[in-house]
Structures are given as C-alpha cells and as structure tokens.
Amino acid sequence: MKKRIVITGLGAVTPVGNDVESFWRSLVEARSGVSVMQAETSDDLLPTYVAKVKEFDPGRIGLPSRKLKMMGRPAQLMLAAAAEAGRMAGLDGNTNESLLERCGIVVGVGMLNADISEFVRTLKSAQNSLPNGSDQIDVEYFSRAAATEMFPLWLLRHIPNMVAAHTGIMLKIRGVSNTVMNGCASAAFAIGESIRVIERGEADVMLAAGVDSRVNSMSVLRYIKLGWQVEGTDDDPATVCKPFDRNAAGFVSGEAAGVLVLEEYRHAVERGATILAEISGCGAGNDAYDVFHPHPQGRGLSKAISNCLGRDDQNIQIPEAVFASANGIQEYDAATAQALKVSFNAYGITPTVTATRSLLGHTHAASFALDAIAAVKALNDNIVPPTINLENPIDDFDFVLDKPRARPIPAAMVTGYGIGGHAGALLIQGCEK
C-alpha cells in the first residue's frame, strides 16, 4: 500500500514578495517582479532586465553576521523561506527529537555563480604584480594574488550542498540530505526525491525546495550571449517577459527560494498539522536530445506528464489548471506547448493554462517550487493567477490572460522543463480527510 503524501508547510522569498502571502497576492494581482538591471559595484544601469528579490534583509534569519558572511545569496534566501515553511508546518522551536530524526531535506539548486566583487581585489593585485610590458593575467599570477586576497571562506559560499547543510543545521533536521542539480527543473526532482524518501519509510517529513540566484552580471552575461535573455533598457520592465508569445524575446533571469514541507498523511493527521493539499502524482522524463536545446516535440516533458498522470485510465486525475514552465525562450516555449498539447489530447482534457514566469521571470532551479506553491494556493483559493504580456499566443490553450480567473480547482498540475532536457510534472489536489 503506497503512502499518501500531503503538504503541510510553504515558504517563499521571490521577486514579487518575501513570504508566501505577499507572493501569492502579487501573482493574483498580476504585479511583475521585473526591473532594469543595475550594476553590482556602481550605480550604472546594464542593458537588460532582472527579477530580483527586493528589500531582503538576511538579518531576518536571526543568525549572526559572521555566519551570514559565509553563505552565498542562495543559502540566505533559502534559510528565510525554510524558516517560514518550518513555522507553518510547526517544525520550529520546540519540535521533538524523534521528529527531527525522521525529517530530511532535498534542495534543487543552480550553479552558485561568483560575484564580480569577489574577484576585484584579486585581479587588481594580480594586475599590479605583472612584469612590465605584460597585461595578461595567467594562472600563476592569478593564483599568487588569490591566495592572499580572496575571502578565506570563499569556497563555502559556492559549494552547492551548503544550502541544504545550512538549512538542516538551522532546523536541526537529521534525516537524509540531498542536493539536486537538474537545471531549470531541479525543484521538480527535489520534490520527486522527497516523495520517494517518505514512501520508502525513511522519513516522515521532508523539506523539498528549489533555490537559485542568477541576477549578478557574470551570470546574466552568459544568458545574453547565448540569446536566451531579453536585452534592452527602454521598455516598461513589466512588459518584456512574454512566455508563450510569438514575439517572446527570451527570459528575464531571476532569483528566489521556494520550500514545500511534504509529510506522510497519517503522521500529519496524528500530530495535528494543517494539511494544505495532497500530492497525487509525480513524474519525470528526459529529452535524450541536446543539452541546451529542447527536443522539438518536447519529448521529455510528454514523458514526465504521462508518468505523472499514470496510464490507468480508470483512475486518471484531471488537472483543471496547469502551471506551465514556459519562460520566454521561443524554442523552449514551443517544445513545452507541443508536449502539453499532445498530453492534453491523449487524456482528452482542456485545462486552464498559466505561465507565472511572465511575472516572476525565470528563477531557474527555484521556478518549479514557486509554481508548486502557487498551485497549492490556487487550490485553496479556487483562483488561477494570470499570464501577462501574452498578445499573440503560439497555441490555442485556455490561457488565463491579464486577470486572475476564479474557478473550482480540484486538481492542478505543475510542469518543469529546461536545460539538460530534464522535465518533471507534479499533480496536486485538495486533501480528502
């Protein structure tokens, strides 16, 4: 008998709000988190847009600054979101020891990109040490300077699993800890892993999360040069990200952390936790195609959706709303649309479709977690948040345009798809007691 998995806590730090309620309100009210990009070390404006977390005070985590200093931005965002999720699920403060033993964490993270400011002193010192007539800093000169000029704990900010490690320490959880790096769909896989750990009986409670921060110039530069990121400074920032639109010009790179507390149903009932929703399906797939271009038919995503919905026609769950992973890169949006279309036709369903990335930008490894949180809120409030900037849709789905749509949502699907050909799908529904 398979265990039932429910959701008992949520936490979010996002470009449109630094907790779950303000995040959700912004989505429903169609408030964009996109702004023109500003340089890291000066007041200069840069020729693109980003979706940054605003007015975030790492001090709210309640840790001394010497500890915060050894964390990268992703770890700080994650700790704040995990603290909120922990509070909501009743995992903070006086949680008993045996629960902490049976609680684990899986975080989907992206590459922890370096800031320019971390290199400036080293490069300056290397430059000054170069022999006359030379202006090329080679490995030797860089190394010599770095050994004295870099922040001694520099590495700790950039080791991906430190995000899960810091969170585990903060919440004192001692079960399995894992860090998933599956590109834009990472959080989908973190949720899938967490579900498995509970189903196998190796934990009762799991924090499943996604976090990423790609809003500094080094990380945004690469997306611009690869043609994935919207360029410019002159347009109204809220209008530049157009998932599913024929004229989409790329994504807007962003940052966020999203956390879901997953729990075995009986365990949640017995300790009197508030059950927000139930997970009724989860599936994954891979394109087996190109690392950085999608399979034109969205093969991996089709597979993820069919794995999620299952093949047993009798028991099929019908999602009334789909939170789609379109982000504004035309080839990925087209492949996503193809996969959704084939899947919807195969199951004979016509769900409402929305793309929150029009408001949130692309928060990469965090994106799926944010959509999953939005889907839980949508189920509870019976409202689907809108997609903005969609004037010329590439497909004829029942899109929720510009304004939220109120409708009963017994079940919702979240899809994730991106680099590496990784795809994931999650089905959630209201929990029947």
Binding site: T41, I116, F142, R174, T179, V291
Partner: protein
C-alpha cells in the same frame, strides 16, 4: 517484496588508471597517484600537488566539441569527458543490449566543471577601475564574453548526465546530485532504491568530478584543509597516520551498471556484486566540522545495516571515507567503534584516498568500485603512508600492503563536507564469470 540489485558493469577513470585492470593493479600494489600538478602552471599556488588523471585519452567521439550554434562551439571539460568515458566502459563491460536503455535511469553525483581563471581574468581585468570597482556595462561588449558564456554553461553540473542520456537514448529519469563528498555514494544508493522498488530494471549510477583546477586548490587551501605537500607528493595523503597534515585533491569518474538481479541472471550477465544496503543521514551540526561523536555517520551506518538486515559481524571490510584530516580520521574511527561495537577491532578498514586523493563528488563511486574489486579478488587494498599510527586511531587499517583474505560483505563510507553521511553495503556476486 524488494527486488535485488546486481552490479553488472564497471567503468573507471582515475589517477591510478583509466581501466578497471590498471586501477586494481595500482590499488593492490599500493601505488600513489599523487603528483606535482601538471595540467597547468601551478607555481603560484599555495599547494602544488594533486592526484590528477594522467593517462586519459578520450577517443574521437568524446573529443568532439559541443556546437551551441553555428558560430559558437567548445570542447567539453575534463569531468564531462571522464564521465562519458567511464559510462562507455561500464556499458561495454556489462554487455547490455543498448536497446534496453530507453527506460533506464541515470543517477550521477557530479560536480560542476572546472573554472578557468585565465578566462575570468580576460573578461574582468580590462574593466577594473582605480577606485576598486568594475566597469560592468562594458562587460556586455567584452570580446571574451561569448567564450565565457558557453564555458560557463558547459560547467553546469547537469551536463555529463544529460549527455549520457543523449548518447544512449535514455528517456527515463536522469538525475544529478551534488551532496559534496557523499554525492556519488548517494547517487548509487538512490539508483539502487529505484531498482528495488521496480521503477526501472536498469540504472547507470556513478559520479564524476575534477577538483584540481587552480580555483579549487585555492578555495580548499584557504580553508586550511589541504596537505601542503612539502615532501614527496606520494607521501602527502596519509590517512590515520599521526603525521598527516590534510587531504589531497583528486579527480576522476566511475560508473556502475545496476540491474535488477533476475534481469541480470536471465541474460547471463556477469554479476560482480550485489548492493544490499544503503543508509543516509545528516549531522545538522556545523558546515565545516563533523559531529564530535560522529552521530550522523553512526546513524547512516546503522541505517545501512538495517536496510541489508545484516549484523556488524557480517562485514569483512570497510572502505573508509578516510580523508587524511585529523578530524575525519578520528571521528570516523569513533563512528566505526560505536556502530560496529565489539566487532570493530576485528574488521579491516582501509582508505584508498591514500592513493587516489580525494575526488570529492566522484570519491564514493571510485571507492565502491575498489570495494567490489576487493570482493572479487578477495584482496584488501591498503592504506599507504601509514607509518606512525595516530594513537587515537586504533583499528586495523591494512597498513601499506594489500592483504589476501576471505570475506563476503564490504561497507563503503562517504561523509560529505556540510554533514551528509552515506554508507553502502555490497555483497560478493553469486555468479562470477
């Protein structure tokens, strides 16, 4: 009823050799793979030794560059090539029909690719201003930007796994996890669970990493974690020796073909070994230190023993995490005493990191391969450089010379920086040949 999991193929790229035979020859002869760094000019580094892979010549297939677009292409980094080569070896070794791979899973513990500090310097140095800031707007027109962009993208942790999916047409679940030094052990454990629970009949599980590039060496040297390597490089890695002074960075890749036992038997596959136990935990203590009583390590070992339903007395050999740091050597010894009780002094323990250095995300798979080969050959690889035992490390560490023995079950420990602990148990295969 859980399915049994057989290991039917092995591939390895290591500082001790790039085939199973050369690797085992070196291990059983107590040969060190630690040398002066030769891949680049290391003169400016505070530490100038590492365990590099030296005799690696990828065939034409892996040597081909990746073409992102018609105008932008670049070769893959070392860790990606290592992973592709190890995978090809393992699949050949398993004699699996490649048509069976469509529904296989891939689970890699893989690090990000190596940074190129020359590229970072080329990009940023010309933009440095006198006041210590950086002319960021000019970054976007830098002539080095395109090369940096693709290089940065190809560094993503997911690249090796998704190329494997592409090369062999694997559309099942493809995962990359990066729980630091425990990553590939965790990958193998999770892949094992998928076969046990009938999610797939075949899984490719392993890991790849290269942590010998300049920025990696600088990062770990700044944390004072590395052996300065002042004497003969071959003697620098000396786990459990009183005169140890830190660990030695390494690199490599390993891949296992895991197969449902009956599936393997039916096709007459060579069964190297059976994976019988997996346990994982976290310390929730400090990101930089192990728990002084090694509670996390003990609970991972306990969980693995429970999982395999065996007793400590059934273990014939422990392949230690054994990094050659004072802290790890002592707390791992303590953990083995606690978890194995009165049997601990009788069970031989060795650390092959004395020869391979520390391959971080790839360490776990390289060590489980060593354990499997030890089972097959009934020979224990030694801990070399163990001349003056640390009085607080009082187990039988198989010092300096390989040892012939009779045993059926081996345990391999991996403890990740940040507090993730994994123990794997493996039993001799029933059908050899």
């Amino acid at each position: 009823m859980k399915k049994r999991v057989a290991v039917t193929g092995i591939g390895i790229v290591s500082p001790l050799g790039c085939s199973v035979d050369t690797f085992w020859q070196a291990l059983s002869n107590g040969v060190s793979g630690v040398r002066s760094i030769s891949q680049y000019n290391a003169r400016g580094l505070p530490v100038r030794i590492a365990a590099e892979v030296t005799n690696f010549s990828p065939n034409g297939h892996f040597g081909k560059p990746y073409a992102f677009s018609s105008s932008l292409s670049m070769g893959f980094d070392r860790r990606t090539k290592f992973a592709l080569a190890a995978t090809e070896q393992a699949l050949k070794d398993s004699k699996l029909n490649k048509d069976l791979l469509a529904d296989a899973n891939v689970y890699l513990g893989a690090g990000e690719g190596p940074n190129r500090v020359e590229l970072i310097s080329m990009l940023l140095a010309p933009l440095l201003k006198e006041d210590g800031t950086c002319d960021e707007p000019r970054l976007f027109t830098s002539p080095a930007a395109e090369e940096f962009a693709l290089h940065d993208l190809l560094m993503e942790a997911t690249v090796p796994a998704s190329l494997i999916a592409k090369n062999y047409g694997i559309c099942g679940e493809v995962m990359t996890s990066l729980s630091a030094c425990a990553a590939s052990s965790q990958a193998i454990g999770e892949a094992m669970r998928r076969i046990q629970n009938e999610e797939c009949p075949i899984a490719l599980a392993g890991g790849t990493h290269t942590m010998t590039a300049a920025l990696d060496v600088i990062g770990f040297a700044l944390l004072s974690a590395l052996s300065p390597g002042n004497g003969d490089p071959k003697t620098a890695s000396r786990p459990f020796d009183r005169n140890r002074d830190g660990f030695v960075l390494g690199e490599g890749a390993g891949m296992l073909i895991l197969e449902e036992f009956e599936h393997a038997k039916k096709r007459g596959a060579r069964i190297y070994a059976e994976l019988i136990g997996y346990g994982a935990s976290s310390d929730a203590y400090r990101v930089t230190d192990m728990h002084p009583d090694a509670l996390g390590a003990v609970s991972a070992i306990d969980a693995a023993l429970n999982d395999a339903a065996i007793d400590p007395k059934d273990i014939g050999y422990v392949n230690a995490h054994g990094t050659s740091t004072l802290e790890n050597d002592r707390s791992e010894t303590k953990a083995l005493h606690t978890a194995l009780g009165k049997y601990a002094p009788m069970i031989p323990v060795s650390s092959i990191k004395s020869m391979t250095g520390h391959a971080v995300a790839a360490a776990g798979v390289i060590e489980i391969i060593a354990s499997i080969l030890a089972l097959n050959e009934q020979v224990l690889p030694p801990t070399i450089n163990l001349e003056t035992p640390d009085p607080e490390c009082d187990l039988d560490y198989v010092p300096n010379k390989a040892r012939a023995t009779h045993f059926d079950v081996a345990m391999s420990n991996s403890f990740g920086f940040g507090g993730q602990n994994v123990a794997l148990l493996v039993r001799k295969g029933e059908l050899n040949g």
